[in-house]
Structures are given as structure tokens and as C-alpha cells.
Assembly symmetry: D3
Homo-oligomer: 241 residues x 6
Amino acid sequence: MRLSKRKSDELRPVSIEIDVNRYAEGSCLISCGHTKVLCTASVEEHVPFFRRRTGLGWISAEYSLLPRATHERNRRDGRGSSVSGRTLEIQRLIGRSLRAGVNFASLGERQIMIDCDVLQADGGTRCASITGGWVALRLAVNKLLQDRYIVRDPLHQQVIAISCGIHAGSHILDLDYNEDSNAEVDGNFVFTSSGELIEVQCTAEDKSFPTASILEFIELSSKGASELVRIQNEALAKKNA
Amino acid sequence: MRLSKRKSDELRPVSIEIDVNRYAEGSCLISCGHTKVLCTASVEEHVPFFRRRTGLGWISAEYSLLPRATHERNRRDGRGSSVSGRTLEIQRLIGRSLRAGVNFASLGERQIMIDCDVLQADGGTRCASITGGWVALRLAVNKLLQDRYIVRDPLHQQVIAISCGIHAGSHILDLDYNEDSNAEVDGNFVFTSSGELIEVQCTAEDKSFPTASILEFIELSSKGASELVRIQNEALAKKNA
Amino acid sequence: MRLSKRKSDELRPVSIEIDVNRYAEGSCLISCGHTKVLCTASVEEHVPFFRRRTGLGWISAEYSLLPRATHERNRRDGRGSSVSGRTLEIQRLIGRSLRAGVNFASLGERQIMIDCDVLQADGGTRCASITGGWVALRLAVNKLLQDRYIVRDPLHQQVIAISCGIHAGSHILDLDYNEDSNAEVDGNFVFTSSGELIEVQCTAEDKSFPTASILEFIELSSKGASELVRIQNEALAKKNA
Amino acid sequence: MRLSKRKSDELRPVSIEIDVNRYAEGSCLISCGHTKVLCTASVEEHVPFFRRRTGLGWISAEYSLLPRATHERNRRDGRGSSVSGRTLEIQRLIGRSLRAGVNFASLGERQIMIDCDVLQADGGTRCASITGGWVALRLAVNKLLQDRYIVRDPLHQQVIAISCGIHAGSHILDLDYNEDSNAEVDGNFVFTSSGELIEVQCTAEDKSFPTASILEFIELSSKGASELVRIQNEALAKKNA
Amino acid sequence: MRLSKRKSDELRPVSIEIDVNRYAEGSCLISCGHTKVLCTASVEEHVPFFRRRTGLGWISAEYSLLPRATHERNRRDGRGSSVSGRTLEIQRLIGRSLRAGVNFASLGERQIMIDCDVLQADGGTRCASITGGWVALRLAVNKLLQDRYIVRDPLHQQVIAISCGIHAGSHILDLDYNEDSNAEVDGNFVFTSSGELIEVQCTAEDKSFPTASILEFIELSSKGASELVRIQNEALAKKNA
Amino acid sequence: MRLSKRKSDELRPVSIEIDVNRYAEGSCLISCGHTKVLCTASVEEHVPFFRRRTGLGWISAEYSLLPRATHERNRRDGRGSSVSGRTLEIQRLIGRSLRAGVNFASLGERQIMIDCDVLQADGGTRCASITGGWVALRLAVNKLLQDRYIVRDPLHQQVIAISCGIHAGSHILDLDYNEDSNAEVDGNFVFTSSGELIEVQCTAEDKSFPTASILEFIELSSKGASELVRIQNEALAKKNA
């Protein structure tokens, strides 16, 4: 039994509130239990140098923890020290994941910047950033379509992410901070809405795990991913309602 | 007549929602029109080196704009460049202002760190940070008193701040972004709840202004400050209610 | 009575020696009591990116304390740490103040860089930098006019700055280091030669001050400003003599 | 058929030359095809601050590409820019992987620093760094045991890593640079000598992949891992021979 | 008698292995006793900004110690701190020395970047970098000539460097680390193959030395330089053999 | 004939004004022709970590060009970029040179920091910094002796430096900026007052020079050094007069 009384394959309550920022082309606030991430998508009419004059767009991401998102205050990245390896690793993952569902020729030579600012952290912030980041991206692309900057939808798949791990010997879905900090194995799975994988990361904390655990993780995370696809769709549907 | 239909001495709607962060010792979300600042106060049981072994506490502040707090996305401070002069100037002002109302011997040798993260910016972010920052500070100090870490209240004054300026030839209170970016003169006034001043900053943008304008600013800002004192008290009263 | 025997509204002895640098288009060494600042103005035939192709010029300033300008040796800015907030704040103030007296269309699309290097510091270095920086600027602009790079004088006002504050309960003008480090309130006032204000900054160190003090400061600083205008003119007159 | 004529489950020729550095406590040069990594293990009698006074040791890793390890010269990390996200991500992976096979109480409160400097890169540098890094670690620990700094062997498992991916629709083992830069999916698998997993990372480059591919990867990489265990042991055996 | 039994004017065994890197246009591994430096020459079809549109080429150098090149592990330059003064000084010397033997008009508007990575350091690493760097440069220029990018040989002189110093009162050639760390005077001499000087650097460690010592150094180092010229030529001859 | 009408072995007019800074323990302004360097010596009652608890003192130096010390304004070191290699190289030379004349046991465990700020540069700034830096050092040590912090004089030698080079085929002493920027060879010689050498640096700009030139440089620079010793002594004598 989990401390939170959740079943091993049960997500925390997830909510996605859209259009929370007045200026961004797309935005949402995603809450997964006590984890809260503000996601904005900013359309910029320029691309990184390696995309120039290719006709292709780009999607990039930045991730940041607010200083008091955590139990103890943490130092702001980039003040008095360089951006931490953990931050760079997470924002590279977010960017890679969101790019996998995009047709860059349809997007045209522009960049969409996804900013994921963690207001409160209780485990699973990188997964929440991907799931919420995709909603912000969807809204920004909708705006480009409405405003006729682009004519074909560049997003061919929804992208969602969910954690699972081994805690106290059990395989569980969607770890909160307490579970995560005691987990034997910790994994993040990025899925498309068609049930295929974009990225798998599994890490043993102290010791190794049998290859069979991977199968259990895939089963758990596939189930979580389906629910998140539905929640993304419900959040987006409110706009049209 | 102002674009927003406000009178020259009229504040924008201000709301302060307290206890918005699960981990911080004190926190609030302050909205002044479309400007929104998340303020947290973090109690740390250590002080900067210049306070060590003095028995005296310290209060410090950090200010940051989220990248899409603004009309155009702005670069995160400290990523790929050092923290901007504007940011440093603002957080020095916030720290100085909040320290002016504190008895550091009563606080004891500990630091309270005030983080002001601007979620959305529509002018007046530094003033909102001071007014909201003081509420977060008050809540954190209340917790120290309740938990008996300290026995005497170190806060002897409320601290609030408000902008005023000259726009289209008129002296006006509480400039929004549109007014601020066209103002001839732009000022920030930090007050105590007893109506005295802690800091005055007035800047002419292109040309100079007569010394008499200072008197008009003081009258306008004194009026605004009184209202903000009342709004701080109402926000704090909800907790006890 | 002040330690230095000065009256409350009395400036320290001020001298301005012009043309002290062989290469700069304009330069002076300003001494205010023991405070000594070397000011140079460098004309550069390019402008910051936000001015490009506007036909408008720009004026920027850098401020720096030599390491042994102070009682104790201070670390050079930018060596082993980033430029301090205090330095950035001061050089932003110098630039803003000097720009207020300039017609940028008459200057044309070029930049004048004002460097203020404090050789010895005894209080009031930012005010001396503004007063001396304006003289260097005047000399550089004179050279542009003589050399027929520009035809209309872009400087329509002299710019001067002076400090005042409350020390031992009295309102005094032009604080030296000893007075400044014990002052209850510390203010800097930037004036034009027509007696109008460009910038006002007043800061209470520990506690607040009544709004009426602002009026006293304006009276004191107006008087000081008039004398500085005369001293600027005398220094410049030596060249033509 | 692969360009290199290798079968889908065939490693490149691997060689490990030990004791290549005169000063390091452990060292080897590992070659996997044209990829060459110099690995050194340095024993340091201090630990990072979070391990101090715990009696527990630590293992950390740094990874670096020499500038001309690659087809085109690449900029040195940390010169004119901060260390790249890719470098940080790889060296975090190396450190995590090697730590998983260690009993830190047996190691005692000391740190072993693993430096992996890539002399020539032809794909698979992070995996070669882990496999070679473990050999350097083993040699350094052997020296600690011989010199009686420690009495019980802290290494309870060998650690090896190998890449696999999907290239031209086929699941293949040990991608070289040409294969890697055209792969649809790219994965790295870190194993213990007992055939369990320490870390799994799989990334789709442009589109998603079915969950069944994970099973194929595990089969391929398990086979490669067994061979690498044998090669590690042969390299180490030369010393005793 | 030197600890190594070498005579005062005797070089350590020197070997130069060419073409050790698969990608670089020129490369060698130079060993001088236990000092080993990997030198690569990379041809880049662009030049630094001060050479643009001049038709002239450029040669630049970077020098780096691998972390365990030394008895104690040393921190990587540019990680957690800026590049050390020693490193900058050495790489400036290498670049200057190699440039002295080059006709930049014949090279054309391209840059050759010389990277000197010290795999193992036992004294004399800057001299080995210059002597080996020149061989890498020679090979890269040969390739440019063969591939008909250039038609006239831009290298009119070989460049070599050798250290000498005063140790235990004797003037000696080619100091190893033990000798260098106890030397009274330490000098580096850069020669052309025609026996002329490009650079002289002599430094007393604690006390001064008579001007006559310079003459003894020149005699010693001239002799060492002749031998190094021969060794460079033998290494290059292997290619053609 | 030199443009300045100086003979080949003739110094520019040199003046040393002592005690130009109110706070520094020792200070002087040295002028060599149009080159002007402000040198201060600051006594600090702590030493770098490698000297702690050794009973030995240390001397360190910092060198900086004011932005308009040069014909064209140069960027301040450490603002927007790291300190340049040239600056690091020069300040390492100054520190090494001044340390050669010091008995660190007599100085005791304290540091004297020599700051050399170039107000105006016309060639030879590093030599002027050494010659002037030694005068500042001498004054600071005199103060330590007078104030009885130390009892034995730690300075056993005067230290001076002078440039020479080959210009238009002639060997000349004390190059000004015009000569230096066209010189074929450029050298700096640091001497003690007993006529021995501390450091020699000679650099060919484009091509090599015969070893015999070194002898001519030593003769020229020895002569210049004697004059500088006398000028140092005259400057110091004014204090006692």
C-alpha cells in the first residue's frame, strides 16, 4: 500500500488549466498532485543558426525550478554558478520529446520556445513539463493556424510523459517526492498518443534490476499515458466549448 | 483621462492571496491589475558572512521575471549572460526597503530570503514585489513567533511601495505598462504604514522636470500607500478569520 | 557643526582639470575634497544594436573604482566574480543622467562612451562622476563641432549632481565618506543648469524619514547645483582663454 | 547488411590496454573500432561535502572530447562558453553507472575520480567510457587493497555499457558514427556482469517506436554486455600474468 | 651529475610518431622522456575577424593538460573557473612561435588550429608542444599542397623549442619535472632550423642570475635545437619512405 | 635616427611622484614619456592558501589598462569577457619580478598587493609597472618597518625593468608605442640594482633574429637599468628630505 493510498497503477489527480498567461501564444498550468508547472509557448520568427535558410522550424525548451518550489530553498540556476547539469538534462529531454511529434516543414522557419517553470515540486516535474508543455505548444500552433501563418497542422501526435519506478519492492506509477527519493529504480517514459515510445530512461539508484522490470514499467506507463492523453484533450476542449 | 478610465490618483485593482506555496514559511500572490508577482519568504538558519557572530539577522531579496512575463519573451537572467543591471537594481531596492522596517536583534541570527518571481508584468513589478514581499515576510515572522523561535516581533512597520509619474503632462498614480513606457517622469516611492518614506526614486526619461513635481508625487503616493496598507491588512486578516 | 567645519549647505572644495588624457576626445579630472574621478569621453562611430539605422546617437557610461581608491583595498569588478550590483546601478545612473541633456538627432548615429574611473574615494563618487562626466562630454562634443562631424550642438543643458542627507539629525549637503557611512538618510540629486531635476534618489538606511525632508533636500541641493554649474563653466573657460 | 559488414549483433573489435599512465592509480586506453578513450582513475583522500563525516566514499566522473576527436574540430568545453549540456549529461551517466557497483562503506571516506578523455570519436564514446572507466576503477581499487588502505573489496559487480539502435529499419548492436547519425532510435544500456540493468536510455530521433523494440534491444545488448565482461577480464588478467 | 645520469647538454630520448589521429589534417604524438603531448593541426576555412578580407591566413594554438597528466590530478581548465593564466601564457607562446616561420599570403585566408593536449607531463611540455606542433603543422600544410588548395609552401623554417636552466649551480639542457621544480633559473628557447631565435624566456625563481648565464643558455639550447631539427625530419621522412 | 630624436640607448624622460594615494601603504605615479602608471601597494594581513601557516609572506600584482589609456578605447577586462591573456601574462610577470627581491620570512605571513593601473599607454607599460611597483612596495615596507610590524628589511634588492628591441634594423632602448608596433624584435629585461637579471623575454614578431642580438640587448638594457635605479632612489629620497 502506498502512503498516499494510491494503487500501484494510479495517477495522482491531474488538472490542466489553459490560457493562464496574457501574453504567451500558448500557456497552461499543469498540476499533478502537489507538483505545479507553468508552461508557456512563445512563437519567435527566427530559428537557431543550424536551421537558418532550411525552411524548417524548431522547438526548444527551458526548465527552471523557482527557488522555493522545493522543501528547502534552492539556488536559482545561473546566479553565482552555471546552470546545473540536472536542469540542462531535463530541458534537453523536454525539447527532444516535443520535437518528436512535429513536422518542421509545416511549421515553417520559426521557433517555438517552451518554458516550463516549476512553481511547486513534489516529484515528476519533468514529466509534468512534457505533458503540460505539449498543451502549450498545441495552443500556440492553433493560434498560428487561426492567424493563417501556417496552413497545415505540424503536430501529428500528442506527447505525454509519466514516471514509474520500483519502491519498497513494488513496481508503481507516478512517484511523488517521497516515493522518488526512496525508490530503488526510477524511470521516465515519453509516449505518443498512439501508444508508441519517444524516450525511455530508467536508472537504478544503488543496485541493479532485472531486465524483466522494463516490461512491467512499460505496462504501467502505457496505462498512465492513455489517461494523460484524455486529460490533455479535455483541457483543450474547454477552449472550444 | 487615462486609457484605463482610472482617475489620476486611482490604484488598479489589487488582490493579495496568501499561503499559495506549500513549503515556504510565508507566501502570497499579489496582483496589481495584470501584474502578478509570486512572493515567498524562506527562513534560513544562517546569515551572510558580514553578520556572523553578531546576533543580528538579515533580510535579502531576489527578483526575477519569468521569460514570458512580458509581451515579448525575455531571456532568463543568468543563462548565457550575467544577471542584468535592472534585475540587480530592483532586488537591491526590495531588500533595502524591507530591511528598513525590521529590528534585527529581535529576529536573531537568521536570514529571511524574499523571492519575488514575476509571473506576468504590466508595470509596477518592483512596487508589487515590495508590497507583496512584506506580506510574505510578515507571515514567515508570524510562524517564527508561533513556533517560539523568537519572542519579540521584529517587524515594527508595514512596508509598501507605489509608483507615480508624469504622463501626457499629468501627474498620475500607479502606472501600467502602457503609461510607464510613455511617461515623461517615472517614480517609485516606498512608505511605512506610519506615512514616512524609506526610499524615493524619480527619473526623467528624456528631459527634466520642475522640483515642484516632487510635491505632487508625494501627495499622490501617500494616498496610494494608505490604501495598500489596508489591503495588506485585509489579506493577512483572512488567515486569522 | 560638521567634523570638517563645513556649514550644512557648504560644498567641499571642487576643482576640475580638463584635457588630462592625450587620446580621449574629452577628459577631465574632477576633485571634490579627497574624492578624485578621472572622466574620459570616447567618440565611437557605431551605436548599440537598438539604435542602428535610426539616425540617433547614444551615450553610455562605465564606472569603476580603482582597487585602492578606498580605505581598504577592494576587489576589481569582473575579476573572479561578476560586476557588482552597486557598480551597475551607478553606471546606469550616470548614463541616464547625461542622456537627459542631449538631442540625439543632432549627435547623429554615433556613441559617446563616458568612463568614470575613481582614483580616490571619499564619498560622493557617483555625483562627481556625473558632474565631471558632463565636462568630458562637453569637450568631446566641442571637438565634433570643431571638426565638422556635426553642425548643431546636441547638448542643450548642463548636467550636475550633488548628494545630501540627514546626519546626526541635520540636513546637510555634499557628504564625505565619514558622514555618508553614518547618515540616517542619503540622497543624490541630478539637476540641469536651468534648475530642474533629472533624477532623485533618497534612501533611508535603518529607519524612515518624514516627507518634509524631501523639501529640505531640494533646497540644499539646488544651491549646491548652482555652484557646480559655475565651476563647470570656469573649467571649460580655461580652454578658450 | 551493415556498411562495416558486421552482423546486427556483432561488436566492433574492442581492445583495452591497461596502465597507460604513469601517475594515475588506475588507467586504460579502450578502443572500440575507431573510438579511443583514455580512462584514468585518481584516488583522492577527500570527498564531496555531502559525504563528509559519513565514513562513505564517492565516485565521480568527468568526460571530455579532445578538440580533434571528431571529424570537424569541436570547441573545448569551458573555453569561451560553459560546459555543454551533452558533456554534463554524459559524465553524470558515467558516474551514476560506476557508483551502482560499489559498496561505499568498504571504500571508506575517499573519492575516486574517473576521467574519460576521448582521443578519437567514432560513435559509442559514452559506452566505451563506462566500460573502460570500470577497468581503471578496478585497477585503482586493487592498488588500495594491495597498499592496505582498505581491507574489503568495495566492487561487487563489473559494469559495462553498450549501445543499440534501429538503423534502416533493423535493430543493431554497437553503432558506429555513421550508423548513429542516421539511426531512427538510439539507446544505451548499462549492465552488471550478472546480467542485470543499471541504466536504460532510448531516444527516438524523429518519430516514435513500438514498445516491442525495447525487448529486442535488451536481447541484443545483453549479448554485447557478456562479451565486454570477458574482454574486461582478459585485459585485467594480463597484469597478473 | 644529474639524477637521470644525463650529461648537462644531453636531451632526453625524443620520439615523434606521426599520423596518430584519423581526422586531423596533421597530427603527431611527441614524447620527450615521460612527457607526452598529442598535437593535431586542423585546417579551418575561416580566419579570426582581424584577418578577414586580407587574403592572409592565421595560425592559432590551444594547450591543455589532461587532468591526470600530472602527479596529482589537476582541475580541468574552464570547469568551475576560467582558463588559468599559465595555460593562456603557454598557448600564446606556442601560437607566436609557430607563426614566426610562416608566410601567411602563401597560406591564403584560412586558419590552422594547433591543439596540444598533454597526456603525461614530466617537464618541458611547452617546448614539446612547439616542436610537435610544428610537425603537425608541416603535415597539414603538406596535405593542403597535395590537395592543391595552395601552390607555394608557406613554411620557410622549421620551429623547435627546448628548455634550459640552472640546477644545483650547473647550467643544464632539457629539464625534467624534478629538475624544473628545483631550478634556480628556468628558460625556454624557441629556434628556427637556421639557428636563429624566435623567442627567449628566462625566469629566476628566487634570486637573480648574472647576464653571462644567458650566453651559456644560448650555447646549450642551440645544440639541443639542432638535434630536434634532425628528429623532426626523421619523423616526417617515415611518411615518404 | 629615432622619430623622437632619442639616441638608440636613450631613455624617455622618467619621473616618479610618490605618495599620490591617501589610503595605500605605498604609492607612486610613474611617467615614462607619455606612459603613465599609477602604482599602489596594499598590505593585507592574510596570505594566499598555499602560504598559510608557513610564516612566509607573499607579493602579488594586478595590472589593468584604463579604457581610454589607449589610442582607441579598449574594453575593460572582466566585463562581458574574461580577463585577457595579455593582462594575465603581464601581471604574472610583475608579481614574479617583484618577488625575486624579497625575503619572505622577514616580511612575515602577510601579503602586499601591487596594483598597476595604466592611466595612459605609450609603450613600455609592463616595465613602468615593475619599476614603479617596486617604489610603491618599498614605501609600504618602509611603513611596516616604521610601525614596527616587522624588524628586518625584507627587500634586499631594487627591481627595475626596461624594454629594448630591434626597430628598422637598429637595436634600441625603451621603445615607445610607435616603435613597438613596428619592431622586428621586442624584449623586456628585469634587473636587480646589482646588475643581475631576474627575467628576460624576447619575442620576434615576424621572423627570427640572430643569437648575437641578445648580447646587444643586454648591454643596452643594463645601461637603462642603472639610470632607473638612480631615478627610483631620487624619488624615494624626496620623502626623507
